[in-house]
């Protein structure tokens, strides 16, 4: 059942991405620049998501443009099962010559911490970060809340009812952190996927929900829900009038990262090539147009800084999971 909810959620996001990409992506022409030389001919990009799932679409679209900047053929491999544990094990055991990488998302940190599989995020070497998904606080359009402050005020007077899509998720972590930052009493109600939570926001069971912008787009366009704030460090380009949570007065920020990681001991030549290529691919006008439409925020973190970023994310997550009693 968990799997189903997850699938629903992932497919939603994934296909949203695929939609725009299928239209224009195939037509993208080759740039004039020569691709950088690379030690291996074929690079396998591994994801734990099913074909059509979030990371799968991310990799497939990325690989279309990467060929312009790195002289290699890119293949996407789906290693499903165990919420990412199997895919991590597959990459951890691969040769560290730049031929195999894994698409990182917060999921692999959560799985590493929650289920303690034989190979965890610690067995991989973070390569570089590419994107951040947009996480927002939303409420129903005909509801009483116009700003994040209204929601917090209500939770101060009586008990707030806040929703998060999944129990072990970044969204729940965000809701718990906001609750603490605001010093209010709110029930954090977890669900089995974003659709499930959307219903409870629309019918007024919940005051607010925390979710990915991509999943909410149709309801936003239909005028059914109102976005109150974003957990992103900066405002959303698509919704410039929506403040960040930090601007609203609560020091909570989220980066739902999407990047790559490889086996430990990647050669310097490989990591340098990727650092340069990712910066270029993010500037690629065709690719840029597509990912901007999907409200993906380019967030490049190079190979030098990415391990520290991932480790600090993991430390925060571990503390959160211990606090909620999910792990000891």
């Amino acid at each position: 059942m968990n799997f189903k909810a997850d699938l629903t959620r992932r497919t939603g996001l994934a296909l949203l991405l695929a939609g725009a990409l299928a239209g224009s992506g195939l037509l993208a022409g080759r740039a004039a620049a020569e691709p950088a030389p690379y030690p291996v001919k074929v690079v396998t990009l591994v994801t734990h998501s099913s074909p059509g799932g979030g990371s799968d679409v991310f990799l497939r679209e990325l690989s279309k443009y990467l060929g312009k900047y790195i002289d290699a053929t890119f293949v996407v491999e789906n290693v499903q099962g165990g919420s990412g544990a199997k895919a991590v094990a597959r990459v951890a055991g691969a040769p560290a010559d730049g031929s195999v990488f894994y698409a990182t998302t917060p999921t692999y940190i959560y799985t590493s911490l929650l289920s303690k599989p034989p190979k965890t995020y610690k067995d991989l070497e973070p390569l570089a970060n590419i994107f951040a998904d947009s996480e927002v606080v939303f409420t129903r359009a005909d509801g009483p809340y116009k700003t994040l402050q209204d929601v917090v005020d209500k939770a101060k007077k009586e008990r707030g009812k806040w929703g998060a899509a999944n129990p072990a998720s970044l969204e729940r972590q965000a809701a718990e952190q906001l609750k603490r930052a605001a010093g209010v009493n709110a029930a954090i109600v977890t669900h089995e996927g974003g659709g499930d939570m959307m219903l409870n926001v629309l019918n007024g069971t919940l005051d607010i929900g925390v979710g990915e912008f991509q999943e909410l787009r149709s309801q936003i366009e239909a005028g059914k829900i109102r976005v109150l704030a974003t957990f992103n460090p900066e405002r959303l380009p698509e919704k410039p009038d929506v403040p960040t949570v930090k601007e609203a007065g609560y020091d909570v920020q989220l980066v739902k990262f999407r990047g790559l990681a490889g086996p430990k001991g990647l050669p310097d030549a490989v990591t340098k090539t990727w650092d340069a290529a990712i910066q270029k691919v993010l500037q690629d006008p065709d690719y840029r147009k597509e990912y901007t439409e999907e409200v993906l925020v380019a967030k490049f973190i190079d190979h030098k800084d990415y391990p520290a970023f991932v480790n600090s994310f993991a430390t925060t997550t571990e503390a959160f999971l211990k606090e909620t009693g999910a792990i000891k």
Binding site: K86, G195, N203, T205
Partner: protein, 508 residues
């Protein structure tokens, strides 16, 4: 507004008819393969719709769904293996009819009941999508709890003679449903640090293990070779039969409508509930489980109705109530179509072709269904060792494609052994399956309600939908139990009388 000429144009000026028939054919074949559920069948075809016209792509996916709901009943009847989750209820009487040499008849009833259900579902989809979309919203966590309990109450009448064994089986099912990540706190339960268990045991594995693998094991152990007659051919029910099935089909349609509208319900619950209701309202309830035509008609009408009515919450709110509608949502989004009220205003051609394409597929189902069936019947008539080997390979490959996991194969095989032992000791399967399917929903909605209310149990009595559903469940359990007690008393009285007459004869 859609005019008559718009429809004529769709039928003649676009490739809608071939698209609908292609989708239907693929759906029937995919649905008929055990382990390949309706959602997988749809997901497999999804990549091919990338380059299609959006209106055609959505119609194609909807037709695959329609085909798969019917296709699932073919193996349910022929080899006691539901092709899709929602055809599990069809196994009970469908396979029984097959054993009596009436497979062709069972298939015909399934086909025609499916057509009736689909037509009804489509009519409801067209009429109710906009006005009824509030129902999806009216369901709060306590309402879902009520829905789950109502589903579980069906167990009371599925115990197959022994209430204790039935309840024991249900408890095992509920226990299996607790494996995996806790739905509210995210704590892992009974996973023993095995990552494959993080997502729990999927109901499809339990169904395949208990139904299909157990059947294969039992078959290989039995001596007599019950070959089907080579001449088995699909036999559509006549008017008299359709008339007799009317009541059970109506029950199936109505329950299918409600289950389709309520997210989380889905075809399997509708099928089991309508099977049960059909038995209750039947003139010949004693035939159920022993090869009742109504026992095939009700669930087949129900799951085919769901294939259309499940689109109502999807199209009106973009809320997928099942895996299949989630795939369809994916198809919509892939083409840049956002479901919701605005879809009707902005892309009426997509809605039109979805409706008209579904209609074409439903009508074509009678012909295509009959054309494809001989192939399926031929398969059943192959020598049993070949067939068993083939089915075994098919089932295992189907399970493997779910998550490309060999661990899942192990779970299914283990449940096959459990099922074999259950069958030898007279434990019924259905309560266990309902436990696995509903356990998660009951638990998560119960706990979510209590998180919302801050631990106050009154939350369940403040929700009118929940109260109504719980009352229905109570009434249902009481009804089933009194009937069971009465039947039991009657049986004992009968026995005593027989004993007495027997005794007198002996004296005389």
């Amino acid at each position: 507004m859609t005019t008559f000429w718009d429809i004529v144009h769709l039928l003649t000026g676009t490739p809608l008819i071939p698209v609908a028939i292609m989708g239907l054919t693929w759906g029937i074949l995919g649905g008929a393969l055990p382990g390949i559920s309706a959602s997988i069948t749809m997901a497999l075809v999804l990549p091919f719709t990338y380059t299609m016209d959006p209106a055609m792509a959505i119609a194609l996916l909807a037709c695959v769904y329609i085909g798969a709901e019917y296709g699932g009943s073919i193996p349910a009847i022929l080899i006691r293996t539901p092709g899709t989750n929602s055809s599990a209820a069809t196994v009970i009487d469908g396979y029984e009819l097959n054993r009596q040499g009436r497979a062709g008849e069972a298939l015909g009833i399934s086909l025609m009941s499916g057509v009736v259900g689909s037509l009804f579902g489509l009519a409801m989809l067209v009429l109710l999508t906009e006005p009824l979309s509030w129902l999806a919203l009216a369901f709060t966590p306590p309402s879902y709890f009520g829905l789950g309990i109502l589903g579980l109450s069906v167990i009371a009448s599925m115990t197959g003679g022994s209430l204790v064994k039935g309840l024991a089986a249900a408890v095992i099912g509920l226990m299996i449903a607790t494996v995996g990540t806790d739905p509210i706190s995210g704590v892992t339960r009974f996973t023993f640090d095995v990552p494959d268990l993080l997502n729990g045991v999927e109901p499809v594995l339990v169904m395949v293990g208990l139904f299909a693998l157990t059947e294969l094991m039992s078959q290989s152990g039995s001596v007599s070779l019950t070959q089907l007659k080579e001449s088995v051919r699909i036999r559509l029910p006549g008017l008299a039969m359709m008339n007799r099935l009317k009541r059970s089909q109506i029950i199936g349609c109505i329950l299918g409508l409600f289950e389709g509208l309520t997210p989380g319900g889905g075809g399997s619950i509708a099928a089991f509930m309508s099977y049960n209701e059909a038995r209750r309202w039947s003139k010949t309830p004693e035939k159920f489980g022993k090869g009742s035509e109504e026992g095939v008609a009700a669930p087949e009408a129900a799951n085919n109705t769901v294939a259309s009515t499940a689109l109502i919450p999807l199209l009106s709110f973009g809320i997928p109530s099942s895996n299949s509608t989630a795939v369809l949502l994916g198809g919509l989004l892939m083409h840049g179509l956002l479901p919701g009220p605005r879809l009707f205003e902005q892309n009426p051609q997509v809605i039109d072709s979805l409706y008209v394409g579904s209609f074409v597929a439903i009508i074509a189902q009678i012909g295509v269904g009959m054309l494809l069936l001989p192939a399926a019947v031929w398969l059943v008539n192959r020598p049993r060792p070949y067939r068993a080997g083939f089915i075994f390979a098919l089932i295992l490959s189907g399970i493997y494609t779910l998550n490309t996991s060999t661990f899942d194969l192990g779970i299914a095989l283990a449940l096959g052994v459990v099922g074999y032992l259950m069958r030898r000791t007279g434990f019924p399967f259905l309560p266990m399956i309902l436990g696995v399917v509903l356990g998660h929903m009951v638990e998560s909605s119960y706990r979510r309600s209590l998180v919302l209310s801050g631990g106050d149990m009154m939350v369940f009595l403040q929700d009118p939908i929940c109260v109504g559903l719980l009352l229905a469940a109570t009434g249902f359990v009481v009804f089933s139990l009194t009937r069971e007690l009465r039947d039991g008393r009657r049986a004992r009285a009968e026995q005593a009388r027989n004993h007495k007459t027997h005794g007198q004869e002996a004296h005389g």
